[in-house]
């Protein structure tokens, strides 16, 4: 690895000040499992690496009073995976975290790093988008909040400006009678997902009629994306085989996959159809079972 300066600030303000320096090309370092690989192999050459290790208030999982959960950006994915609060309030997020890399990777990789790295295939993104999560962004002095679905602007690109850091991710409370799940396909151990699908469906009382739904797709567009046309098709409809088939076909229309080393665009389209059908079928079974299992 090429040499670089390394600073380890002890406050958020200090960290953001270094990141804001217009003269340098500073890079924030959380777990390092993406940043170090990019510095070694992908030509990332920051002038200074800003370690977040000693910055307090970034590594936490908080059970919010409203029933939601706030997760500090530098919380390791392993902690997210095993958190009792997350498993109780938004278990699909724990599942998505558990699917990232290996135990070794999850002990270092952080939820904020997974999001800020902004890979179209980031495992935590589709389910967090489906759940309506928000990104809490700070410049060291003031905070702003953006919906996570608006956080990504392109591959490796986010709305974070120079000198800004993602401080936390806030997952709102799950609505009553809602079902959420994340599903992904991958070729083998340690592989990034070829397609990821996150779903949060809210049902009318005592039926399989959809009141509200968010479907988010990963690895099929420049950024993790909401399948809005599919959601519109589903809204207000009874979730049955015909609706599920129509919705899954609509999701394929919306996805914009590309050919890459992991899969062809054509294969990804098939996967979008299959996986959308699977998550919607699971939601349907859950609703028909009176909101259980």
């Amino acid at each position: 690895m090429k040499a670089f300066d390394y600073v380890r600030p002890s406050t958020l303000e200090e960290a953001c000040a270094v990141l804001a320096d217009p003269a340098g090309s500073a890079k924030a370092l959380a777990g390092g499992t993406d940043v170090l690989v990019q510095m070694r192999a992908a030509g990332l050459r920051p002038s200074v690496v800003v370690s977040l290790k000693d910055v307090p208030g970034l590594n936490f999982i908080h059970a919010d009073d409203d029933g939601g959960v706030t997760i500090g950006a530098v919380t390791p994915l392993g902690a997210v995976e095993h958190s009792a609060v997350i498993k109780e309030r938004c278990p699909a997020v724990a599942q998505a975290a558990a699917w990232v890399g290996s135990v070794q990777v999850r002990n270092r990789a952080t939820i904020g790093g997974n999001l800020c790295n902004a890979a179209p295939s980031a495992d935590t993104a589709p389910i967090l988008i489906a759940l309506g999560a928000e990104a809490v962004i700070t410049d060291g002095r003031e905070e702003r909040v953006v919906l996570l679905e608006e956080f990504f602007t392109g591959p490796g690109q986010t709305v974070l400006g120079r000198g800004e850091l993602l401080r936390a991710v806030r997952v709102p409370p799950a609505p009553a009678r809602s079902f959420a799940t994340y599903l992904k396909t991958f070729r083998s151990a340690m592989d990034c997902c070829t397609v990821g699908v996150g779903l949060c469906a809210t049902f009318e009382e005592g039926s399989a009629a959809i009141k509200d739904v968010r479907l988010a797709l990963g690895a099929v567009a420049p950024t993790p994306m909401r399948a809005r046309a599919t959601e519109a098709l589903l809204a207000g409809r009874e979730l049955d085989e015909t609706t599920i088939a129509a919705a899954s076909a609509k999701a394929v229309e919306e996805a914009q996959p590309i050919d890459d080393i992991r899969a062809s665009a054509a294969y990804r389209e098939v996967l979008v159809e299959v996986m959308s059908r699977r998550v919607l079928t699971a939601a349907c079974a859950w609703a028909q079972n009176g909101g259980r299992g």
Binding site: M1, K2, A3, F4, D5, Y6, R8, L29, G32, T33, L36, V37, R40, A41, V49, S51, K53, G78, G101, S102, V103, Q104, V105, N107, R108, A189, M190
Partner: protein, 160 residues
């Protein structure tokens, strides 16, 4: 740029002056001289560089040395004591879970951490737990058997 680094490796305190772009793997091997930890892919895929950081497995090739400041590192050299093998090491030897040996230090440390959390893992749990450690010799069968044998040893039993 060099910077002071204080870390504990296998119970020994080290006060070193280390360049800020060095990885924990490089410091363990080149500065401290413990070469049991292996350099494999350098991308966090193969697990040959696995060490335990505060008891949890990490890829030391993806940890900047200075990020381990003030923390406890356990390498394969610190696992047994003297000539006495740790039960996981003994299980790997007696089961024949070693061929070329390059993946073995990482495999043993990951297995140790797995068994610390889950003393009697299922086969599926062993495979999931060792997902980040690649072996290109054994086909993994003997390695899974070794982890099962280690579990048995740690639970007070003997290797069959």
């Amino acid at each position: 740029m060099k910077r002071e680094l204080h870390i504990r490796v296998n119970g020994d305190e080290y006060h070193l002056l280390v360049e800020t772009h060095r990885t924990l793997l490089e410091v363990i091997r080149d500065e401290i001289g413990l070469t049991g930890t292996k350099n494999g892919c350098g991308q966090g895929e193969c697990g040959a560089c696995t060490v335990l950081l505060d008891g949890e497995p990490v890829n030391s090739c993806l940890v900047l040395a200075h990020e381990a400041e003030g923390h406890d590192v356990l390498t394969i050299e610190g696992l047994g004591s003297g000539d006495t093998l740790h039960p996981v090491q003994r299980a790997f030897v007696e089961t024949g879970a070693i061929q070329c040996g390059y993946c073995t230090p990482g495999m043993v440390l990951t297995a140790k951490a797995l068994l610390d959390h889950n003393p009697t893992p299922t086969r599926a749990e062993i495979l999931e737990g060792l997902k980040g450690n690649l072996c290109r010799c054994t086909g993994y069968v003997k390695i899974v058997e070794a982890v099962e044998a280690a579990s048995c040893l740690l639970e007070g039993g003997e290797i069959e």
